[in-house]
Symmetry: D3
Subunit: 183 residues, 6 copies
């Protein structure tokens, strides 16, 4: 039986409800011998803020299910300040995809630039048995949020293929997408 | 002018030359409130051992260029021991792809299982100007290494599409792969 | 001689320009044996976000000059999420006062509450000689910011008395304030 | 009913019984981009040694209740060694005030100087329910300890005003102090 | 009563079964003000990998019982990579001796050299009461492992003398060894 | 040529001049899965406080040269407080031996007990070239300090044998000591 509290929790929610911001100063131990932030440390912070955002949306504990492709473009130096913003894009039964963006600037606020972004997917789990549980839907409110909502379906299909959980021939969106280039 | 030392360094090398192993015990601060290793911390370690392996192969400093899709299957608990193994799969001009595998067992060596794996790509850079520099080729020696060597080309094409550096219609391997399912 | 760039930097700025947000999940090592966040760790994070905010406002390196009285009311537990918001309140020649507020909620976003706040004062210093340098003024835009701007003068007087840099009999605002109760 | 053990514990104690000393070497991650110890890190250590001292005096768990004004004068550099000394000054029903002093010198023991000090107040709590519990009195033994004992009353009044727990017009010591300057 | 599982666990095992490898990159916070790895940090890593190896051999929790003499020869610098290899040498009732070797090279894999080694002894304890429990024997397979197996007896005698658990006159191996030089 | 400052520095010094005290609270990340302090972490702290003490005595940078046998007796639990005291015992040309003692008690100051001790030897090095340099002598002032001073000679002989820098037959003190038991 599902309780009233659970029904309330299942009401779809706005993206803005769970948007989360994290700011970190790059310390010496976060960097490689060239004094640049190591990619792994950035992914660690992206995972934390993505998880906080997902937990707030799902009102539950969450565990990281997957991370899509992440690229690292230009170096981030010791003493620079990074700002990570996480927002949910779309919910899928027991999981929710988050979009995490990273911006960087020096300590004076100068040389501000986008560093990179990634999609982290989290599964909501109940506290006692760590079993997956249903998550509330996501309501996009503006064109940017809608674009992320729409494209989430295709990214999910890629993940299912990569995880071997659907066969390539079942990935209808991907087949449509790539076969359009085949003549 | 290229020196003799540089030529020597450019000689293709065996995969085994740079294979690297890392063992870590999961400490309380590595885990989420459910006492499971956080995905971001695992990616941080994968990045370090991948970078050490790539640096050894390239005999140079390296920076993380990208990480392909990573999935997290079952939880890793506090006090468990993870073993990460990194090996190069293939070199591409100034970058090298590494394959990082994670195995886990409890402190008694029991409940041993594969946790997950990922492909990390590193760019070799010179110490002074941090400019990309050529890397030695990779010589696979057994069927497993050859399989990783072969498939590296397709993974690279995916990365170039995702990074927007080639257009989808130029991704010939992907088009062949997916259009085969389209009738 | 003062350069054009320096003049531009000295233009007074809005409070919102440098407002900064930090989110942290309380990890086991941040807590005392009762599993509550230790006060000193909270102050450490307040100092970092206050410093990032002050650096952005001053467009310069900054060092912590002082912290006013901080109270700790209810415990924050391991696994909870804290959100720290820092904003400048007023500038004084070479220093700027920041107001840092801390809110806390559990990982599900429940039990949200204000934890505490404090005033951190930072001195802007030049990168080379670490000498104090002029900072831009602060423009409050709404009643709340104006109230913080006004009261900053009194807090500063308290600090100067406490630091022994003015005599109690020179603290005119404080004398007026307390002597009103004396009859 | 109060046990014999509790009565023994309530016997007032000498300041020297719980005096505690902590030595730390400043590591790179403790410093800001100018390589100076960040104020927040110093406060973190002051809180830990103050809490250890208070716990020893109260023979109980303690939680930080408040920190009075802290000033930071001159920079402390990476590689320098700080020595923190904590002692109780006076007890107030369920809380105890500690005085924490910080001295600094370089690794050779040269350039020794006082860095700063602060008053940290801790509340003794019982292990099970985290409820405040009575603490033993403090016996000062020399003029310096007596001076800290006497002035503790005034500092407490300031804290109660700042925390909004007494009204300014009830702060009799402060009113006497400041109104003396009003003519 | 001893269970079948326990009997199986008590079967002597090959050294190679539990050999463990750890790789770490030296980060700024691991070094002293001269930017050399601090001896204590190296010992910390040696203890962890030794303990992981001992736990695997004993299939149980283990605690460090003692460390024999450790020497530090040449400095290891920030950014260098250390590889620690641990293997069991011999078992003694409820304890097992491990031999931990450290090699170092720079990030390019150059300047490879042996740093040092040490013998760490661990006691196997049961999970519930932390009482010592029997450990499986060690089967050396090659001359190097046999040499370590043989010499373990003498090292143990030294430890028992140093720990005051046997009298010097009972250390028959040591007496034979040193008195041979006395004429 | 030796300067006046150097001569002054070379004056033998009292043990008490450089005695150093460190207090640490055991945090979750310092412990193994049984929640006991890991031996390696204790050695890390012993090395730091030993080095601070040696640096103060030598008025120079120092590097760890060796650690004698360390035993670990009873477990130290998370939340307990350890106090480490380091003092120099004797100087040998360019090195100084320190004696580091560890005491432990719970957060209430109860269950106070000696944990263990060890001898750490440090070499004084000059800041520029990291070459060994002369250190001042040690003046013991009481029977305990004298005993440590006397026995330092024998411990040094053991270290030289273990490091292979003298032959066993040159270890005259050891030969006398053990051959006395041989009849």
């Amino acid at each position: 039986m599902i309780t009233f509290a659970e029904i309330m929790q299942m009401e779809p929610k706005l993206v803005s409800t769970s948007r989360s911001v994290m700011t970190e100063m790059i310390m010496p131990n976060d960097t490689n011998p060239l004094h640049h932030l190591m990619g792994g440390n950035l992914m660690r912070w992206m995972d934390i803020i993505g998880g906080i955002c997902a937990g707030k949306h799902c009102e539950s504990h969450v565990v990281t299910a997957s991370v899509d492709h992440v690229s690292f473009h230009e170096g981030i130096e010791v003493g620079e300040v990074i700002t990570l913003t996480a927002q949910v894009t779309r919910a899928f039964n027991t999981s929710v995809e988050t979009f995490v963006e990273v911006h960087v600037a020096d300590i004076k606020g100068h040389n501000s630039r986008k560093s990179n972004h990634a999609y982290f997917t989290f599964v909501a789990v109940d506290e006692k048995n760590h079993r997956p549980q249903k998550v509330p839907g996501v309501i996009p409110e503006n064109p940017e949020e809608e674009k992320l909502f729409e494209s989430a379906q295709r990214r999910r299909e890629v993940r299912l293929v990569l995880a071997g959980r659907i066969k390539p021939e079942e990935a209808s969106e991907l087949i449509d997408y790539f076969s359009a280039f085949d003549e």
